[in-house]
Symmetry: C3
Subunit: 105 residues, 3 copies
C-alpha cells in the first residue's frame, strides 16, 4: 500500500486566524500520486485545528464571534502555568483536532 506524508508550516499574522489550506492540501494529494485512499489532515498544535467549510468572509467572522461567545477569553486555571491561552484550548473543541476525508480521482 502506498502512503505519503507531508508537513505544512503555517505562520499566523494575528493571534486568532482562519487560514485556507485547501490548495496546499490538493497539491500534496496530487504529488502523492495516490489515486484512491484516505487523506488525514491533522493540526499538530493543540490550540489549532482543521475544518472544512465555505470560504466566505461573513461566515468566518460569524465563527470567530461565536467562538468568543461560547469560549471567551477569561481567567482560566490553566493560566497559573504561565500560559494565557486557556480560551484557545476550549475554542478548538468546536473543531476536531484532525479532519479526514476520502478522495477519489
Amino acid at each position: 500500500m502506498k502512503s505519503h506524508t507531508a508537513y505544512l508550516k503555517i505562520k499566523t499574522k494575528k493571534e486568532k486566524e482562519i487560514i485556507n489550506i485547501s490548495d496546499k492540501v490538493k497539491k500534496i494529494v496530487s504529488e502523492s500520486e495516490v489515486m484512491e485512499g484516505l487523506c488525514l489532515v491533522n493540526s499538530m498544535h493543540i490550540t489549532s485545528s482543521v475544518f472544512i467549510n465555505d470560504e466566505e468572509e461573513g461566515l468566518k467572522e460569524d465563527f470567530m464571534e461565536w467562538l468568543e461567545k461560547l469560549a471567551p477569553v477569561a481567567n482560566y486555571k490553566h493560566h497559573k502555568t504561565g500560559e494565557k491561552n486557556g480560551d484557545a484550548h476550549l475554542k478548538t473543541r468546536f473543531w476536531s483536532m484532525g479532519t479526514d476525508f476520502l478522495w477519489r480521482v
Copy 2:
C-alpha cells in the same frame, strides 16, 4: 488492499432533522465484502454531519433544543450572501464533518 465507496442520497422532510442511517451503512459494509478495516462515514454537505448515538426520541429532542440554545437562528453576517443558514454552519460544529469507525467481522 480492497476498498469500497458508496454514496447515500438522503432527503430531509423538515428543515432540521436527525436521520438514522445505521442500517444503510451496515448494508454497504456487508456488500463491500471487506472483512476488516476502517469505515469512513462522511457527510458531503457543510451544514449536515454524521454522529453516533442512541436511537432514542427524547435524546434526539434534547440535542435539537440544545443546538438551538448554543447556535441559535439569528442574523448572521453569512446572510449578506443571500444564504439564511448561518446557524446550521455553527450547529454542525458539534458534530464532526465525518465520523469514522473501525469494524471487525
Copy 3:
C-alpha cells in the same frame, strides 16, 4: 497490509473523569509492530470520548467547568427512559466519538 486491534478496559472512579491513556496507546502501537500507518483511538461508549490535549491539571479543571456551563446537568427528555445522563450525551459532543492520528516511526 498489517493491522492490529486492541481493547482497553477503563474504570472511572468518579462520575465524570479525564483519564490519560497515552502510555497505554503508545504501548499498543509499539506492540503492533506497525511502522507506518493510522492509529484510530475510539471510545466504545456514547457518553465518553477521546481527545488529545496537555496533561495539565488546571486545564483539565477548566474543561470540566466549561462543559458544565455549556451542557449542564438538567432535566432532559432523555431521562424519561430512566437514564440520568442526558448532560453526558451533550458533553461528549465537544469531543469527537473517536480521535485518529497518524504516526511515523
